[in-house]
Amino acid sequence: MRWVNIRPGRQLAIYMAALPFVLVVIAYLLGSGARLAENPNDKLLPALSSMGLAVKQMAFQLDARTGSYLMWVDTLASMERLAAALAISTSLALLIGIVIGLLPAANALLGPFVSVTSMVPPLALLPILFIVMGLGETSKIALIVIGTLPCIIRDLSMKVQELPREQLIKAQTLGASTWQIALRVVLPQILPRLIDSLRLQLGPAWLFLIAAEAIASDSGLGYRIFLVRRYLAMDVIIPYVVWITLLAFAMDFALRLLQRKAFPWFASVRAE
Protein backbone atom coordinates (compact mmCIF):
# COMPACT_ATOMS: atom_id res chain seq x y z
CA MET A 1 0.00 0.00 0.00
CA ARG A 2 1.22 3.50 -0.76
CA TRP A 3 2.26 5.69 2.14
CA VAL A 4 -0.26 8.34 1.13
CA ASN A 5 -3.07 5.83 1.75
CA ILE A 6 -1.98 4.62 5.17
CA ARG A 7 -4.24 6.15 7.80
CA PRO A 8 -3.69 5.42 11.49
CA GLY A 9 -6.79 4.46 13.47
CA ARG A 10 -8.13 6.64 16.23
CA GLN A 11 -6.38 4.89 19.09
CA LEU A 12 -3.12 4.54 17.21
CA ALA A 13 -3.27 8.23 16.30
CA ILE A 14 -3.43 9.14 20.00
CA TYR A 15 -0.38 7.03 20.77
CA MET A 16 1.45 8.50 17.80
CA ALA A 17 0.61 12.03 18.93
CA ALA A 18 1.92 11.25 22.42
CA LEU A 19 5.14 9.69 21.16
CA PRO A 20 7.19 12.85 20.42
CA PHE A 21 6.26 14.32 23.81
CA VAL A 22 7.28 11.14 25.62
CA LEU A 23 10.55 11.00 23.67
CA VAL A 24 11.43 14.57 24.58
CA VAL A 25 10.73 13.93 28.26
CA ILE A 26 12.76 10.73 28.22
CA ALA A 27 15.65 12.44 26.48
CA TYR A 28 15.54 15.23 29.06
CA LEU A 29 15.45 12.81 32.00
CA LEU A 30 18.38 10.83 30.61
CA GLY A 31 20.43 13.96 29.98
CA SER A 32 19.55 15.44 33.33
CA GLY A 33 20.33 12.15 35.14
CA ALA A 34 23.70 11.84 33.43
CA ARG A 35 24.73 15.41 34.25
CA LEU A 36 23.51 15.23 37.85
CA ALA A 37 25.34 11.93 38.38
CA GLU A 38 28.55 13.68 37.43
CA ASN A 39 27.85 16.89 39.37
CA PRO A 40 24.96 17.00 41.85
CA ASN A 41 25.09 20.83 41.81
CA ASP A 42 24.61 21.07 38.02
CA LYS A 43 22.09 23.82 37.21
CA LEU A 44 21.67 23.30 33.49
CA LEU A 45 19.30 20.32 33.42
CA PRO A 46 17.63 20.22 36.85
CA ALA A 47 15.81 17.09 38.00
CA LEU A 48 12.00 16.99 37.98
CA SER A 49 12.02 17.09 41.77
CA SER A 50 13.96 20.36 41.93
CA MET A 51 11.67 21.88 39.29
CA GLY A 52 8.72 20.72 41.40
CA LEU A 53 10.21 22.43 44.42
CA ALA A 54 10.75 25.62 42.43
CA VAL A 55 7.15 25.60 41.18
CA LYS A 56 5.91 25.00 44.72
CA GLN A 57 7.90 27.97 45.91
CA MET A 58 6.90 30.25 43.05
CA ALA A 59 3.24 29.33 42.82
CA PHE A 60 2.08 28.14 46.22
CA GLN A 61 4.23 29.93 48.79
CA LEU A 62 3.94 33.57 49.70
CA ASP A 63 6.99 35.45 48.53
CA ALA A 64 8.50 37.06 51.61
CA ARG A 65 9.71 40.19 49.83
CA THR A 66 6.62 41.12 47.81
CA GLY A 67 3.95 39.35 49.88
CA SER A 68 2.38 37.65 46.88
CA TYR A 69 2.34 34.39 44.95
CA LEU A 70 4.83 35.25 42.23
CA MET A 71 3.78 32.85 39.50
CA TRP A 72 0.12 33.87 39.69
CA VAL A 73 0.98 37.55 39.79
CA ASP A 74 3.24 37.07 36.77
CA THR A 75 0.57 35.11 34.92
CA LEU A 76 -2.09 37.68 35.67
CA ALA A 77 0.11 40.57 34.55
CA SER A 78 1.03 38.86 31.28
CA MET A 79 -2.50 37.72 30.51
CA GLU A 80 -3.88 41.21 31.14
CA ARG A 81 -1.44 42.69 28.65
CA LEU A 82 -2.10 39.98 26.11
CA ALA A 83 -5.88 40.18 26.45
CA ALA A 84 -5.94 43.98 26.21
CA ALA A 85 -3.67 43.98 23.16
CA LEU A 86 -5.54 41.22 21.33
CA ALA A 87 -8.90 42.83 22.09
CA ILE A 88 -7.65 46.08 20.58
CA SER A 89 -6.07 44.52 17.52
CA THR A 90 -8.92 42.13 16.69
CA SER A 91 -11.60 44.79 16.94
CA LEU A 92 -9.57 47.28 14.92
CA ALA A 93 -8.65 44.63 12.36
CA LEU A 94 -12.27 43.55 12.01
CA LEU A 95 -13.34 47.11 11.27
CA ILE A 96 -10.46 48.04 8.96
CA GLY A 97 -10.28 44.62 7.29
CA ILE A 98 -13.95 44.64 6.32
CA VAL A 99 -13.75 48.23 5.07
CA ILE A 100 -10.67 47.48 2.94
CA GLY A 101 -12.01 44.18 1.67
CA LEU A 102 -15.48 45.41 0.83
CA LEU A 103 -14.87 48.91 -0.51
CA PRO A 104 -12.60 49.21 -3.57
CA ALA A 105 -12.01 52.88 -2.73
CA ALA A 106 -10.83 52.03 0.79
CA ASN A 107 -8.60 49.33 -0.67
CA ALA A 108 -7.05 51.86 -3.03
CA LEU A 109 -6.48 54.25 -0.14
CA LEU A 110 -5.30 51.91 2.61
CA GLY A 111 -4.32 48.61 0.96
CA PRO A 112 -0.75 49.54 -0.01
CA PHE A 113 -0.22 51.37 3.29
CA VAL A 114 -1.19 48.30 5.31
CA SER A 115 0.97 46.08 3.10
CA VAL A 116 4.01 48.27 3.68
CA THR A 117 3.48 48.80 7.42
CA SER A 118 3.02 45.07 7.95
CA MET A 119 6.64 44.68 6.80
CA VAL A 120 8.04 46.94 9.54
CA PRO A 121 9.72 44.67 12.12
CA PRO A 122 7.74 45.48 15.29
CA LEU A 123 10.67 44.80 17.62
CA ALA A 124 12.63 47.50 15.83
CA LEU A 125 9.91 49.91 16.92
CA LEU A 126 10.13 48.88 20.57
CA PRO A 127 12.75 51.52 21.49
CA ILE A 128 10.57 54.18 19.88
CA LEU A 129 7.57 52.95 21.85
CA PHE A 130 9.55 53.03 25.08
CA ILE A 131 10.78 56.55 24.33
CA VAL A 132 7.37 57.88 23.34
CA MET A 133 5.08 55.99 25.71
CA GLY A 134 7.38 55.31 28.61
CA LEU A 135 8.08 51.96 30.21
CA GLY A 136 4.54 51.34 31.49
CA GLU A 137 1.80 49.04 30.26
CA THR A 138 0.95 51.20 27.25
CA SER A 139 4.16 50.55 25.37
CA LYS A 140 3.95 46.78 25.89
CA ILE A 141 0.34 46.60 24.72
CA ALA A 142 1.19 48.89 21.81
CA LEU A 143 4.00 46.57 20.72
CA ILE A 144 1.67 43.55 20.57
CA VAL A 145 -0.98 45.57 18.74
CA ILE A 146 1.54 46.89 16.21
CA GLY A 147 2.95 43.41 15.76
CA THR A 148 -0.35 41.65 15.13
CA LEU A 149 -2.70 44.28 13.69
CA PRO A 150 -1.38 44.63 10.10
CA CYS A 151 -1.26 40.87 9.60
CA ILE A 152 -4.83 40.37 10.80
CA ILE A 153 -6.04 43.30 8.68
CA ARG A 154 -4.40 41.87 5.56
CA ASP A 155 -5.72 38.41 6.28
CA LEU A 156 -9.28 39.60 6.91
CA SER A 157 -9.44 41.93 3.92
CA MET A 158 -8.29 39.05 1.72
CA LYS A 159 -10.90 36.78 3.28
CA VAL A 160 -13.58 39.37 2.53
CA GLN A 161 -12.42 39.55 -1.07
CA GLU A 162 -12.53 35.77 -1.29
CA LEU A 163 -16.25 35.70 -0.50
CA PRO A 164 -18.01 34.62 -3.71
CA ARG A 165 -18.84 37.62 -5.89
CA GLU A 166 -22.28 36.05 -6.37
CA GLN A 167 -23.11 36.58 -2.71
CA LEU A 168 -22.49 40.31 -2.83
CA ILE A 169 -24.51 40.63 -6.04
CA LYS A 170 -27.28 38.53 -4.56
CA ALA A 171 -27.42 40.71 -1.47
CA GLN A 172 -27.74 43.79 -3.67
CA THR A 173 -30.60 42.22 -5.61
CA LEU A 174 -32.29 41.72 -2.25
CA GLY A 175 -32.01 45.47 -1.76
CA ALA A 176 -29.07 45.54 0.65
CA SER A 177 -27.20 48.81 1.15
CA THR A 178 -23.42 48.78 1.63
CA TRP A 179 -23.96 48.98 5.38
CA GLN A 180 -26.43 46.09 5.31
CA ILE A 181 -24.09 43.98 3.18
CA ALA A 182 -21.32 44.58 5.71
CA LEU A 183 -23.61 43.82 8.66
CA ARG A 184 -25.62 40.84 7.42
CA VAL A 185 -23.45 39.20 4.77
CA VAL A 186 -19.80 40.01 5.42
CA LEU A 187 -19.47 40.38 9.20
CA PRO A 188 -21.11 37.08 10.19
CA GLN A 189 -19.06 35.21 7.60
CA ILE A 190 -15.82 36.92 8.60
CA LEU A 191 -16.12 36.27 12.35
CA PRO A 192 -15.19 32.57 12.17
CA ARG A 193 -12.33 33.47 9.83
CA LEU A 194 -11.21 36.09 12.34
CA ILE A 195 -10.84 33.27 14.86
CA ASP A 196 -8.53 31.44 12.43
CA SER A 197 -6.51 34.57 11.96
CA LEU A 198 -6.33 35.22 15.68
CA ARG A 199 -5.15 31.67 16.35
CA LEU A 200 -2.30 32.16 13.92
CA GLN A 201 -1.37 35.46 15.56
CA LEU A 202 -1.24 34.01 19.08
CA GLY A 203 2.35 32.93 18.50
CA PRO A 204 3.62 36.38 17.44
CA ALA A 205 1.54 37.98 20.20
CA TRP A 206 3.29 35.90 22.86
CA LEU A 207 6.64 36.62 21.25
CA PHE A 208 6.12 40.38 21.46
CA LEU A 209 4.76 40.10 25.00
CA ILE A 210 7.79 38.19 26.28
CA ALA A 211 10.16 40.52 24.43
CA ALA A 212 8.57 43.65 25.87
CA GLU A 213 8.52 42.18 29.38
CA ALA A 214 12.11 41.03 29.12
CA ILE A 215 13.38 44.48 28.27
CA ALA A 216 11.50 46.71 30.67
CA SER A 217 9.03 45.44 33.21
CA ASP A 218 8.57 44.62 36.87
CA SER A 219 6.14 41.76 36.52
CA GLY A 220 5.03 39.16 34.01
CA LEU A 221 6.11 35.73 32.83
CA GLY A 222 8.73 37.09 30.46
CA TYR A 223 10.09 39.41 33.12
CA ARG A 224 10.53 36.51 35.57
CA ILE A 225 12.31 34.29 33.07
CA PHE A 226 14.79 36.97 32.16
CA LEU A 227 15.24 37.95 35.83
CA VAL A 228 16.12 34.48 37.10
CA ARG A 229 18.34 33.90 34.07
CA ARG A 230 20.99 35.82 36.03
CA TYR A 231 21.11 32.98 38.58
CA LEU A 232 20.99 30.24 35.92
CA ALA A 233 17.73 29.20 37.58
CA MET A 234 16.74 26.61 35.00
CA ASP A 235 14.47 25.01 37.60
CA VAL A 236 12.27 28.13 37.33
CA ILE A 237 12.75 28.90 33.65
CA ILE A 238 11.75 25.48 32.34
CA PRO A 239 8.46 25.26 34.30
CA TYR A 240 7.67 28.83 33.22
CA VAL A 241 8.23 27.95 29.56
CA VAL A 242 6.03 24.88 29.93
CA TRP A 243 3.38 26.99 31.66
CA ILE A 244 3.46 29.63 28.87
CA THR A 245 3.12 26.87 26.28
CA LEU A 246 0.17 25.43 28.15
CA LEU A 247 -1.51 28.83 28.38
CA ALA A 248 -1.01 29.46 24.65
CA PHE A 249 -2.30 26.01 23.78
CA ALA A 250 -5.34 26.48 26.02
CA MET A 251 -6.12 29.80 24.30
CA ASP A 252 -5.80 28.15 20.90
CA PHE A 253 -8.03 25.28 21.98
CA ALA A 254 -10.65 27.64 23.40
CA LEU A 255 -10.73 29.64 20.17
CA ARG A 256 -11.16 26.48 18.13
CA LEU A 257 -14.00 25.38 20.40
CA LEU A 258 -15.65 28.79 20.15
CA GLN A 259 -15.44 28.62 16.38
CA ARG A 260 -17.10 25.22 16.28
CA LYS A 261 -19.87 26.06 18.75
CA ALA A 262 -20.67 29.59 17.63
CA PHE A 263 -20.46 29.01 13.87
CA PRO A 264 -21.83 25.53 13.21
CA TRP A 265 -22.19 26.28 9.49
CA PHE A 266 -18.54 27.15 9.00
CA ALA A 267 -17.02 23.67 8.91
CA SER A 268 -18.83 22.69 5.72
CA VAL A 269 -18.02 26.03 4.05
CA ARG A 270 -14.34 25.53 4.79
CA ALA A 271 -14.48 21.96 3.49
CA GLU A 272 -15.59 23.18 0.05
Binding site: Q172, A176, W265, F266, S268
Partner: protein
Protein backbone atom coordinates in the same frame (compact mmCIF):
# COMPACT_ATOMS: atom_id res chain seq x y z
CA UNK B 1 -43.50 42.60 -14.72
CA UNK B 2 -41.34 44.71 -16.92
CA UNK B 3 -40.45 45.31 -20.53
CA UNK B 4 -36.76 45.15 -21.32
CA UNK B 5 -35.21 46.94 -24.27
CA UNK B 6 -31.64 46.64 -25.59
CA UNK B 7 -30.70 49.41 -28.03
CA UNK B 8 -27.67 48.54 -30.15
CA UNK B 9 -25.67 47.34 -27.16
CA UNK B 10 -21.97 46.49 -27.48
CA UNK B 11 -19.67 45.11 -24.83
CA UNK B 12 -15.92 45.37 -25.24
CA UNK B 13 -13.06 44.59 -22.87
CA UNK B 14 -10.22 46.71 -24.22
CA UNK B 15 -9.74 45.58 -27.81
CA UNK B 16 -11.74 42.44 -27.29
CA UNK B 17 -15.33 42.68 -28.50
CA UNK B 18 -17.58 40.24 -26.66
CA UNK B 19 -21.04 41.27 -27.80
CA UNK B 20 -22.02 43.51 -30.68
CA UNK B 21 -25.17 44.97 -32.18
CA UNK B 22 -27.57 43.55 -29.60
CA UNK B 23 -30.99 45.01 -30.21
CA UNK B 24 -33.83 43.31 -28.46
CA UNK B 25 -37.30 44.00 -27.12
CA UNK B 26 -38.60 41.73 -24.41
CA UNK B 27 -42.30 41.94 -23.60
CA UNK B 28 -43.47 42.09 -19.97
CA UNK B 29 -43.98 38.66 -18.43
CA UNK B 30 -41.97 36.96 -21.13
CA UNK B 31 -39.79 33.98 -20.29
CA UNK B 32 -36.65 34.49 -22.31
CA UNK B 33 -34.07 31.74 -22.69
CA UNK B 34 -30.56 32.60 -23.88
CA UNK B 35 -28.65 29.77 -25.51
CA UNK B 36 -25.36 29.54 -27.32
CA UNK B 37 -21.93 27.93 -27.15
CA UNK B 38 -19.54 28.61 -24.27
CA UNK B 39 -17.83 31.98 -24.39
CA UNK B 40 -20.42 33.60 -26.63
CA UNK B 41 -21.33 36.27 -24.12
CA UNK B 42 -24.54 34.88 -22.64
CA UNK B 43 -23.35 35.53 -19.13
CA UNK B 44 -21.98 38.95 -20.10
CA UNK B 45 -25.43 39.78 -21.41
CA UNK B 46 -26.98 38.74 -18.13
CA UNK B 47 -24.42 40.67 -16.11
CA UNK B 48 -25.23 43.83 -18.06
CA UNK B 49 -28.90 43.28 -17.39
CA UNK B 50 -28.08 42.77 -13.74
CA UNK B 51 -26.23 46.09 -13.63
CA UNK B 52 -23.01 44.38 -12.64
CA UNK B 53 -21.37 45.56 -15.87
CA UNK B 54 -22.14 48.53 -18.07
CA UNK B 55 -22.47 48.27 -21.86
CA UNK B 56 -19.60 49.86 -23.80
CA UNK B 57 -22.05 51.33 -26.31
CA UNK B 58 -25.81 51.50 -26.60
CA UNK B 59 -28.25 51.46 -23.73
CA UNK B 60 -30.58 49.17 -21.85
CA UNK B 61 -34.04 50.33 -20.87
CA UNK B 62 -36.42 48.81 -18.35
CA UNK B 63 -39.99 50.04 -18.86
CA UNK B 64 -38.53 52.92 -20.84
CA UNK B 65 -36.17 54.00 -18.05
CA UNK B 66 -32.40 53.60 -18.39
CA UNK B 67 -31.11 50.67 -16.38
CA UNK B 68 -29.64 51.55 -13.00
CA UNK B 69 -25.87 51.06 -13.09
CA UNK B 70 -25.78 48.69 -10.13
CA UNK B 71 -27.82 45.69 -9.00
CA UNK B 72 -30.99 46.50 -7.09
CA UNK B 73 -34.14 44.89 -5.76
CA UNK B 74 -35.96 45.24 -9.10
CA UNK B 75 -33.89 42.46 -10.55
CA UNK B 76 -33.65 39.17 -8.66
CA UNK B 77 -31.03 36.63 -9.56
CA UNK B 78 -30.24 32.96 -9.14
CA UNK B 79 -26.73 31.80 -10.03
CA UNK B 80 -25.56 28.28 -10.65
CA UNK B 81 -23.71 28.35 -7.32
CA UNK B 82 -23.31 30.58 -4.26
CA UNK B 83 -26.82 31.98 -4.57
CA UNK B 84 -27.75 31.37 -0.96
CA UNK B 85 -25.93 32.48 2.15
CA UNK B 86 -24.14 29.63 3.90
CA UNK B 87 -24.27 31.33 7.32
CA UNK B 88 -28.05 31.65 7.35
CA UNK B 89 -30.60 28.91 7.90
CA UNK B 90 -33.12 28.13 5.17
CA UNK B 91 -35.73 30.32 6.83
CA UNK B 92 -33.30 33.19 7.45
CA UNK B 93 -32.18 33.06 3.83
CA UNK B 94 -35.76 33.60 2.69
CA UNK B 95 -36.41 36.24 5.34
CA UNK B 96 -33.27 38.19 4.48
CA UNK B 97 -34.79 40.19 1.61
CA UNK B 98 -37.69 41.34 3.77
CA UNK B 99 -35.43 42.15 6.70
CA UNK B 100 -33.15 44.25 4.51
CA UNK B 101 -36.16 46.02 3.05
CA UNK B 102 -37.88 46.87 6.31
CA UNK B 103 -34.98 47.43 8.67
CA UNK B 104 -32.48 49.76 7.01
CA UNK B 105 -30.28 50.13 10.09
CA UNK B 106 -30.02 46.65 11.57
CA UNK B 107 -31.20 44.51 8.66
CA UNK B 108 -33.14 42.44 11.17
CA UNK B 109 -36.78 42.17 12.14
CA UNK B 110 -38.13 41.48 15.59
CA UNK B 111 -41.47 40.75 17.21
CA UNK B 112 -44.61 41.15 15.15
CA UNK B 113 -42.89 42.22 11.92
CA UNK B 114 -40.71 39.14 12.06
CA UNK B 115 -43.65 36.86 12.78
CA UNK B 116 -45.54 38.22 9.78
CA UNK B 117 -42.53 37.86 7.51
CA UNK B 118 -41.90 34.37 8.84
CA UNK B 119 -45.48 33.39 8.03
CA UNK B 120 -45.02 34.50 4.41
CA UNK B 121 -41.63 32.86 4.18
CA UNK B 122 -43.05 29.57 5.43
CA UNK B 123 -45.82 29.69 2.82
CA UNK B 124 -43.23 30.32 0.14
CA UNK B 125 -41.00 27.51 1.43
CA UNK B 126 -43.95 25.17 1.26
CA UNK B 127 -44.60 26.26 -2.34
CA UNK B 128 -41.06 25.39 -3.35
CA UNK B 129 -41.12 22.10 -1.44
CA UNK B 130 -38.78 22.97 1.40
CA UNK B 131 -41.25 22.65 4.27
CA UNK B 132 -39.62 20.95 7.22
CA UNK B 133 -36.13 22.12 6.31
CA UNK B 134 -36.42 25.67 7.75
CA UNK B 135 -33.82 25.29 10.45
CA UNK B 136 -31.16 23.62 8.31
CA UNK B 137 -28.15 25.38 6.87
CA UNK B 138 -27.85 25.34 3.05
CA UNK B 139 -24.86 23.00 3.17
CA UNK B 140 -27.20 20.32 4.53
CA UNK B 141 -29.42 20.63 1.43
CA UNK B 142 -28.97 18.89 -1.91
CA UNK B 143 -28.10 20.93 -4.99
CA UNK B 144 -31.70 20.94 -6.21
CA UNK B 145 -33.00 22.04 -2.83
CA UNK B 146 -30.43 24.83 -2.68
CA UNK B 147 -31.67 26.15 -6.02
CA UNK B 148 -35.27 25.94 -4.82
CA UNK B 149 -34.20 27.94 -1.80
CA UNK B 150 -32.44 30.47 -4.03
CA UNK B 151 -35.65 30.87 -6.06
CA UNK B 152 -37.74 31.34 -2.92
CA UNK B 153 -35.22 33.85 -1.58
CA UNK B 154 -35.28 35.90 -4.78
CA UNK B 155 -39.08 35.82 -5.09
CA UNK B 156 -39.65 36.81 -1.45
CA UNK B 157 -38.20 40.23 -2.25
CA UNK B 158 -40.63 40.69 -5.16
CA UNK B 159 -38.41 41.55 -8.12
CA UNK B 160 -39.87 42.70 -11.44
CA UNK B 161 -37.33 40.72 -13.41
CA UNK B 162 -35.81 37.40 -12.46
CA UNK B 163 -32.41 36.58 -13.95
CA UNK B 164 -31.25 32.98 -13.97
CA UNK B 165 -27.63 32.13 -14.81
CA UNK B 166 -27.57 28.43 -15.68
CA UNK B 167 -29.53 27.80 -12.49
CA UNK B 168 -30.24 24.12 -13.06
CA UNK B 169 -27.08 23.22 -14.98
CA UNK B 170 -25.51 21.26 -12.16
CA UNK B 171 -28.58 19.21 -11.26
CA UNK B 172 -29.44 15.59 -12.06
CA UNK B 173 -32.01 15.13 -14.87
CA UNK B 174 -34.80 13.92 -12.58
CA UNK B 175 -34.33 16.74 -10.12
CA UNK B 176 -34.08 19.17 -13.00
CA UNK B 177 -37.48 18.06 -14.33
CA UNK B 178 -39.03 18.66 -10.89
CA UNK B 179 -37.54 22.11 -10.61
CA UNK B 180 -38.72 22.94 -14.14
CA UNK B 181 -42.28 22.29 -13.00
CA UNK B 182 -41.69 24.61 -10.06
CA UNK B 183 -40.11 27.26 -12.27
CA UNK B 184 -43.08 27.22 -14.62
CA UNK B 185 -45.46 27.60 -11.73
CA UNK B 186 -43.51 30.46 -10.20
CA UNK B 187 -43.46 32.25 -13.54
CA UNK B 188 -47.20 31.77 -13.91
CA UNK B 189 -48.14 32.79 -10.40
CA UNK B 190 -45.86 35.75 -9.87
CA UNK B 191 -45.65 38.88 -11.99
CA UNK B 192 -42.18 38.14 -13.29
CA UNK B 193 -40.33 38.68 -16.51
CA UNK B 194 -37.74 35.91 -16.58
CA UNK B 195 -34.41 35.86 -18.42
CA UNK B 196 -32.58 32.55 -18.21
CA UNK B 197 -29.13 31.65 -19.51
CA UNK B 198 -28.80 27.94 -20.22
CA UNK B 199 -26.72 25.60 -22.33
CA UNK B 200 -29.48 23.00 -22.32
CA UNK B 201 -31.58 23.46 -25.45
CA UNK B 202 -34.41 21.21 -24.29
CA UNK B 203 -34.63 23.21 -21.07
CA UNK B 204 -34.80 26.41 -23.09
CA UNK B 205 -37.57 25.12 -25.33
CA UNK B 206 -39.61 23.50 -22.56
CA UNK B 207 -39.67 26.55 -20.28
CA UNK B 208 -39.35 29.69 -22.35
CA UNK B 209 -41.79 31.74 -24.38
CA UNK B 210 -38.94 32.88 -26.58
CA UNK B 211 -35.48 31.48 -27.24
CA UNK B 212 -32.58 33.71 -28.23
CA UNK B 213 -29.40 32.16 -29.62
CA UNK B 214 -26.07 33.98 -29.38
CA UNK B 215 -23.35 33.12 -31.86
CA UNK B 216 -20.10 34.45 -33.23
CA UNK B 217 -20.48 35.03 -36.93
CA UNK B 218 -16.76 35.27 -37.55
CA UNK B 219 -14.66 32.65 -35.90
CA UNK B 220 -11.34 32.70 -37.73
CA UNK B 221 -8.49 33.09 -35.22
CA UNK B 222 -7.41 36.49 -36.56
CA UNK B 223 -11.00 37.75 -36.34
CA UNK B 224 -11.93 36.37 -32.95
CA UNK B 225 -10.96 39.43 -30.93
CA UNK B 226 -12.46 42.02 -33.24
CA UNK B 227 -15.86 40.51 -33.84
CA UNK B 228 -18.19 39.76 -30.96
CA UNK B 229 -21.13 37.43 -30.68
CA UNK B 230 -24.54 38.66 -31.65
CA UNK B 231 -28.10 37.39 -31.76
CA UNK B 232 -28.29 34.76 -34.49
CA UNK B 233 -31.72 33.24 -33.86
CA UNK B 234 -34.79 34.69 -32.21
CA UNK B 235 -37.48 32.06 -31.91
CA UNK B 236 -40.95 32.57 -30.54
CA UNK B 237 -42.18 29.28 -29.14
CA UNK B 238 -45.18 27.93 -31.03
CA UNK B 239 -47.86 27.36 -29.90
CA UNK B 240 -47.43 30.62 -28.00
CA UNK B 241 -46.99 30.35 -24.30
CA UNK B 242 -48.47 33.11 -22.22
CA UNK B 243 -48.28 33.52 -18.49
CA UNK B 244 -51.63 33.31 -16.77
CA UNK B 245 -52.91 36.88 -16.60
CA UNK B 246 -54.39 36.48 -13.14
CA UNK B 247 -53.43 33.59 -10.98
CA UNK B 248 -56.06 32.23 -8.61
CA UNK B 249 -53.65 32.20 -5.72
CA UNK B 250 -50.77 34.44 -6.65
CA UNK B 251 -47.68 33.81 -4.62
CA UNK B 252 -47.37 36.74 -2.28
CA UNK B 253 -44.21 38.64 -2.81
CA UNK B 254 -42.70 41.72 -1.25
CA UNK B 255 -43.89 44.06 -3.98
CA UNK B 256 -47.06 46.06 -3.47
CA UNK B 257 -48.14 45.54 -7.03
CA UNK B 258 -51.08 47.74 -8.02
CA UNK B 259 -52.08 45.19 -10.65
CA UNK B 260 -52.41 42.48 -8.05
CA UNK B 261 -54.61 44.70 -5.90
CA UNK B 262 -56.96 45.42 -8.78
CA UNK B 263 -55.90 49.06 -9.07
Amino acid sequence: MSAIRFEDVWKEYGDHIVLERITLDVAPRAFLALVGPSGCGKTTFLRMLLGEEAPSRGRILIDGEPLKPEPDADRGVVFQRYSVFPHLTVLDNVLLGRELQQSRLLGRLFGRARREATEQAMTLLEEVGLKGHETKYPSALSGGMQQRLALAQAIMRGPKILLLDEPFGALDPGIRADIHVLMKRLWNETELTVVMVTHDLSEAFSLATRVIAFERNRNRPEERERYGATISRDLEIFPRRVAQPHADHPIRSGRDDPAAQGA
